[in-house]
Each structure stands twice: as C-alpha cells, then as structure tokens.
C-alpha cells in the first residue's frame, strides 16, 4: 500500500527512517493562518505550476493527491505513514499535497506555511534526504519568490522555524535503552545541545513501541549542514549505545531476553483482539529479536510495515470497517496474525 517503508535503507536496524522538512513561504501573501480562500487557491496554483511546469525530471514524478476529495480515513492513513502532517489535515479543504510517485517526497501546500517540502526514506540517510529536499526547493524557487530576510533567513509563520526552516529528524527504535532506563534522562541531555525528542507522530504525541523521533530544535544561526551533522553525531552515539545495551542484556540475561521476545511473538501471532498501544509494544520486542538474530521466524520488513499498518486508520482501511474501537482491535489482531503466520 505504501512504498517508502518498503525501501531498504542503510543502518535500518535502529534508525527506522530519516526525514527532512523545509518550511517556505511566498513573498507578498499572508500566511495560511490568516489568508482568505482566494489567496489559498493562488498559493496552490503557484506551487503546482512551479512543479508541474518545471523543466526538470521532477515535473513528471509528482502527482496531485487531491486531498480535498479523499475520505477522512484515506487522509488519516496518509498521516499514519507520515506522508502528510496532522496539521495539514485540519486545513485540508484549502490545502494540496503533491506526492512523488515513490512517496519519498511530499510537498504540502497551505499547512502552517505556504510550502512544506518533506523528504523521507528508510534507514539512516539524512544527507541523501537533504540533497533531495534541497533540489526540490531549488526547482520551486525558480518560479517562486520566497519570503526571505537577509538577516533572519526564510520567514515562517512560527518563529521556531525561521532561518533555515529546516526540521531534520530520525526515527529511532530504542528498546534496550528504554529497558535500562537510559531514555528517561535522554530528553534533558539532548535539549541542551539543540535537539529534541518526540513520540512517533511528532509534536505532543506519546512514545509508542519504544520509537523516538529525534530532531533539531533550533533553525536560526546554524547552517543546514551543521544541523544535519549535529543530529548525525548524536544518532551514531545512540545507535552504538542501543547496541551496547542490547549486547549487555543478552550477556547477562539471555533466557530472560529470549523469553520476552518469544512471548511477545506468541501473543501477536495468536491474539484475537489487540489495542494499537499493546501491539506497538509487542512489535518492539519482536523487532529487537529480529535485529539481534534471536527470532528468525519473521523478517524485519514485515515488522516495519506492521508498525504502520496497525495504526487506527490503516487497520480500518485494510479491513474495510467503519469507525469503532472494538471492531478495530479485532481487525488489528487479524492483520497481525495473517502477516506473522504467513510463510
């Protein structure tokens, strides 16, 4: 159903995905927060023209999702696979999303800013993802005059994005660091170096399945490369520490670890009704088991895909059911059983 998750990225054991988001606005038009419908349409047209009429290969690679015509479930599903942001959904009647066919780039129009370029791929490849975002940005800029200030850089609706307008992030799976209690202190330490940790779906969301989104907090005064390097260095450290913690647990309590992983696998393969929170936590154990080559009954891609497919709208879409938490929990258990028991 979704492409980008299936890509094989480098170092994808701990780093699930890498993402760059750029915030841009068009000079002379109010930001979406106070623009009228006519101005919103004007922005949509300007950006669409900039992409579809450009003389680059990009022109043929994008499709207009026509998000205003999609059902709520379809839109929600796009949020769950990180192709569009929750903020865009709030405003989707006058927004637009241009998506690259392989789903690694989405251009959100009239989210909080006029233009949000998002590039996303599996594994640890921030630099590749940044190169791509940079190129898409250049293509748009050929036909659009950005709101830019010599001192302050790219001007954005929220002052927390002004400057580079960049939010670079990696999604990390840190089960062993969570078990050992290290992640609790991580938040404080990390904020001191201009980074921030969030849950799976960004700002204000809870951590589920031991997945953490690590991103830069500051956007002004550092170049994009510095921001990415900073994030890369910290990510490398966390990956090393996560593996050290895993090896340490394996050394001191091998049976306990295997037991935990196989119990989680057992529940997932047999449950008849399961919430997304429980499923995420159990999938986290199984994922660690696969990474550590303890559990060989299932491959990592199946688990990665499941972590997205068990989210509420995705389950509803896959199972073809209408809203309702209980129905959803039954359908979710079925989706998981089918995938895990498939040989």
């Amino acid at each position: 159903m979704v492409n980008w998750i299936k890509n094989d990225g480098p170092n994808s054991d701990v780093v699930i995905s890498s993402r760059i988001r750029l915030a841009r606005n068009i000079e002379g038009i109010p930001f979406p927060i106070i623009m009228d419908d006519k101005q919103a349409q004007q922005v949509v047209k300007i950006v669409k023209d900039a992409i579809f009429n450009s003389n680059t290969v990009l022109a043929g690679e994008f499709i207009d999702l026509e998000i205003d015509k999609l059902s709520d479930i379809d839109v929600q599903r796009l949020v769950e696979v990180h192709v569009v942001s929750p903020d865009l959904v709030k405003n989707r009647k006058r927004s637009a999303v241009l998506l690259r066919r392989d789903e690694t780039v989405s251009i959100m129009i009239n989210e909080e800013d006029h233009i949000r370029i998002q590039c996303l791929n599996t594994g640890f490849q921030l630099e590749n993802v940044w190169d791509l975002a940079d190129k898409v940005d250049d293509v748009i800029e050929e036909n659009v005059k950005y709101a830019f200030d010599e001192q302050l850089g790219y001007l954005t609706c929220c002052p927390t994005n002004v400057g580079t307008g960049i939010r670079a992030s990696v999604m990390l799976h840190l089960p062993a660091l969570t078990i050992t209690g290290y992640t609790k202190g991580m938040l404080q330490t990390i904020s001191k170096i201009g980074l921030t940790v969030r849950g799976l779906y960004g700002e204000g969301t809870e951590v589920a399945g031991n997945m953490f989104q690590l991103s830069n907090q500051l956007t002004l005064g550092q170049s994009e490369e510095e921001i990415i390097n900073n994030l890369t260095t910290v990510t490398h450290q966390l990956v090393d520490r996560e593996w050290a913690a895993r090896e340490n647990i394996a050394k001191h309590d091998r049976y306990g670890l295997e037991d935990k992983i196989y119990r989680s696998y057992g529940i997932l393969s047999n449950a008849r009704k399961i919430s997304s929170k429980e499923a995420m936590d159990l999938l986290s154990d199984v994922r660690m088991g696969v990474d550590m080559e303890i559990l060989k009954e299932v491959d990592i891609n199946t688990i990665n895909q499941l972590m997205f497919d068990i989210q509420p709208a995705s389950v509803q879409k896959l199972a073809g059911i209408t809203d309702g938490a209980e129905q959803r929990d039954v359908a979710r258990a079925e989706v998981i059983r089918q995938r895990l028991n498939k040989k």
Partner: protein, 174 residues
Amino acid sequence: MYCEKCKKRPATLHFTKIVNDEKTEVHLCEQCAQEMGKVNTMFTPFSITDLLSSFFEVGGEGQQTIYGQQALKCPQCGFTFGDIKKTGRLGCGHCYVTFREQLMPILKRIQGRTEHSGKVPKKIGGQIWLSREIKRLKDELNKAVAEEAYERAAQLRDKIRELEGKPVDGQGRW
C-alpha cells in the same frame, strides 16, 4: 474509567496538559473528544501555542514597550502584536519587518541566535548568496590546505576565483 463529559461511554482518550508546571488530566471518550474539538485526528497532536505565547510575555521594562506597541498593525496583513502574542504566530513575511524591534529579543530567547547562516535563495540572494558561498568555499579551502589536500585546494581556489569573477590560472599556481 468513564468519560468525564457524557459519563456513559468508557474514556479511551487521555489528555495531559501542562501549563506553568500545573498538570491537568482529562479523560474522554472518542465521541465527546471529537465534539469538543480535542481531536480531529485519531491521535492527539496538542498545540504548542500556549507554550509559544509565553515567549511573548516579556517581564519588566520590556513589557511596557511591548504593550505600548500593541496598536501597531502590519500594513501587509493587518496583524497586530497582540495577535502575534495570542497565537504565537506571525501573519505574513512582512510582520518580521513591522514588528522587528519587538521580535528580536523574542527570537533570541527562542532560537539563541538572530543571524541566519544557512541556505540563501539564489534569485533573491544574488550578492548575499555569492559572498556567503565564497566564504564557505574559503573555509573549505583553509581546511583542505591544513589537511594538505592540495588537489582539492586547487579546485576550490579555482571555484572561488570563478565566483569572484577573477581569471582562473590554469597552471594551478596561487
């Protein structure tokens, strides 16, 4: 646990709001939460507007200045500083010009710095882009020389000369 609002259906959504260290918890069912506008998605992105607005509350002398400026309106979008304070957002790019004086200390508090040093759009940037690019290349050149990577240094030097509009010396000499 039952929903705090309808008290009939089980509470499946739990919100924690922390304002000024005061923690409030709200427990709702999906339906009531949707009606109250707490969620329009199936999970709950909470707004950082509250948090952000607090950055605009400046204590002491600064406060007076800022309140004194509340009537000032952005000529391009009509936003006032009061609007910015309330929403934690700006109305348009020109607001950064209109409210520059008030915004600078706030940006300093949020971002730590107030000088952009990243990418510059080529079209608008023109000269800014050129001088920053030259500076960046010179930094790289110094690094290359320090590392004794002379071939790379020569390439960088040619590139710098090209940008500065000076003729490139094909002999590879300085």
